[in-house]
Structure formats: C-alpha cells, structure tokens
Subunit: 241 residues, 2 copies
Amino acid sequence: MRNDNKIGKLYGVGIGPGDPTLLTLKAKDALEKADIIFAPKGSDEGISVARRIIEQVIEGKKTYIELTFPMTKDKNLLKKYWKKAGQRIAGELKKGKQSAFVTLGDPFIYSTYIYLLRIIKQDYPKIEVETIPGISAFNAAASRAGFSLLEGKEKMAVLPVNETMDGIEDALKDFDTVVLMKVGAKLQKVIRLLKQKGLAKNAVLISRVGHPNEKIIRNIANIKDKELGYLSVILVKTKAG
Amino acid sequence: MRNDNKIGKLYGVGIGPGDPTLLTLKAKDALEKADIIFAPKGSDEGISVARRIIEQVIEGKKTYIELTFPMTKDKNLLKKYWKKAGQRIAGELKKGKQSAFVTLGDPFIYSTYIYLLRIIKQDYPKIEVETIPGISAFNAAASRAGFSLLEGKEKMAVLPVNETMDGIEDALKDFDTVVLMKVGAKLQKVIRLLKQKGLAKNAVLISRVGHPNEKIIRNIANIKDKELGYLSVILVKTKAG
C-alpha cells in the first residue's frame, strides 16, 4: 500500500483487551494493509503487549516500530514523548507509508492514543486519521462473567479508583451498575467500601481479561492477593437483584 | 459441528452496531461453526437487522431461525416471547446442533439477549453458554466522531433518556463524559437541556453508527429533524476543554 504522491493514512486501531480473537475484522484488515505498525510500550527495555497480541493473528511480515511512553504522571515529560512519537509517525507517513498505531482495548477509553491523536491533529493537521473501535476491558469482562451491564432503564457509571475513592460512593448510590477501572493498589480499599455498603456480594472482579492468566472472582470479600488489583476491572450491581 | 451425544453449546454473539467489519474474529468464527443462527426481530413480518448484517461477512450456508420479540414494554407479554424463544433454542441444542444467537452491539448493553440468557439459565441450566462481547454503539460512535470517552482521572455516565429526563442533569454535573442512549422522541428535550447548561457545543450526535446512512452532527443546537433521535447516541463533554 505505497503511495509516493501523498501522505499515508494513519489508522488508530483498538485491538481489544488481550485475546487476539477479539480484534475486529476491520482492525485485522487495517493492520494487514499497513506497511508499518506502531506499538506502544512502557519502557525502552520492555516489550509491547499490543504487538505480542496482534502478532498472533496478523498475517504477512510487518515492520514494527515500538514507541516508548514511560509510566509517569508528569504531563510535561509525557508531552515530550507524545511529540517525539508524533514526529516519528509523521515522518513515516510522509514517505507514503500506510501506518497503524495499535492500542489495547478501545482507543478512546484510558488510552495513550488519545494524547497522541491530539498531538498529531495539532502538529500535523494534514494527516488523515481513522480510528477503529475496540472491545473495551469492561465489555469483555462483562461477557466473561455473564454480568449484565445495562438493561431497561438502568444507568451505568464508569470511573477510575483514586487514592481518595473520589466519586465511588456517589456512583454506588445513584447508578445501577458501577464499573471500577484502574483498581491497582487500592483493591483492599475498594473491597472495604463495598463490604460497608453491603455490595461485596453483588460485585465481580475480572483480572487480566482476555489474557491467558485471566481470573474471575465473585467472592471479592475474601480476596487476599494484593497483586490482583492490577489490570483488573470490578463490576458492581448496586440494587438487590 | 454435530455432536449426537450431548447438548450443543450456545454462543451469544455481539455483532457490533451495524458495520459488518466490526464483528470480532471470535464472533465470525463462532457464527461460521454454528449449524443454526438465531436472529432477533421486532415483528413477525419484519426482517432481522442482525441477520442482514452478518450475512454480509459469514461464509458458508447457514440455517437461520428468526425469533420475534415484539416492541412492547409489557414485561409479562415479553416474558412469554423469551420463554418461547428459549424453548425453541433448547430444542435445537438438544439435537446436538451448535447454535448462535446474534445481538446488535454488545450483548450486555440494552439487549434482548440479557433476558433470553436469564430464561435459558433458569429453564435449561444444563445448556452451556458462551457470550462473545461486541463493539457497543457508543464506542463505535466515539471512534467515528473522534470523541475521547475517558482519559486520566475522568468519569463517564451512560444512561438512557427517559420522559422525565431522570438523572441526566446530575450526570452532567458529576461526570466528565455523559453518554445518552435511547434518545428517540426526546431529542428536542435533550437539546434544550444541553443548551440551558451551555453544553450543546460540547456534544455530538451520532445517528445509525456503522450503518450506511450514518450521520455525525456536531452542532446539535440546530437539529430540526425529529426522526434523528432514533438509533442515535449523544456524547457530551461536561467540562470546557
């Protein structure tokens, strides 16, 4: 898919939470047509999880370029990395290379792609971008656990767990379904709150959904494993069912 | 995939919002392995939208059984239809037929599949069911509109629009992103509320996402078309960005 006359197109491709068969047909097609696949990773030494997932289903030899986005909350430092990544991607697109940037889950849910896209739109407004949605972790988790997210007139809140547990109590009061993301080290705090509200039995934790070591835990009141919060989603029904 | 010794397995397959290329590889595989594909429709005379979508990408001849679920809010009447559908599905599974039930979007978001699954679990507990997640309308809408759903510490509310506009005002106050589903005839009411809150310019309406007649409307304050609310999702950012 070379085109020497014009700038290549960039596909932002959501690849789902981990199971490579959860890629969409459209995502697979975009990746197979791409000359270059950009894949994010957390450090220069690390491997790109997204790359390892798609390599299992994408046919044909590809040029992979792994881009580092360090695990930091320092926005200024991150901005430098996004700018550098944008520059690298733009450079390849200007050679007429069709390209794809792969991102875990859905591209517009807690993804580095959101920031990268913003930088590309700002610094290289002529680049055409098409975003391909992906199965988000909480949709995959719901299917694995047989957990109904929304039915009838129900309302759902999706929020990250912060140190201060900000917003969770209100969400548990006002919404039928609460999806807790980025649980991490705050798992025991979440469990305590859910027990206190009498909702621990209405909750299910899905860890590493779609990955080979996926775990589904329904009796979350008894969780002792501190590491389980990482890459976990907790789904809660707030009304007696 | 016949097995005369045991009951067939049922796959509940989310097929995404309309674009057949938004099926996952797993969904396509489950449908291609199925002897029988059950597809919901709104009336005996109507056609199954889900069937029309998958027929565009599924290879091999299939036996389709269209199941009617009338458009009514009468739960007792609906329950009869779910029971009848469950009976029909169980009947085929008992013949050892591998089967799939297709459902638009994600199976666990506002779907008839949720009720059907409950009936099957209750009436036929021996039937093995596997649910395959699908791209939900709001994820697809976000990708089409280039709309960031969640980043950093943001919180998202997903809720249907009721006659009383119940919960929408609170969600607009407490959440960074609000996803309004089932807009329907209440479109003008929603637009009035968003204008009143100074949020109409932060909203985007995506109608029939993934279908050939998809529309993306960013200036929702000026919408005159009353039909546009049907099969539409409205995405709103509540903070100045």
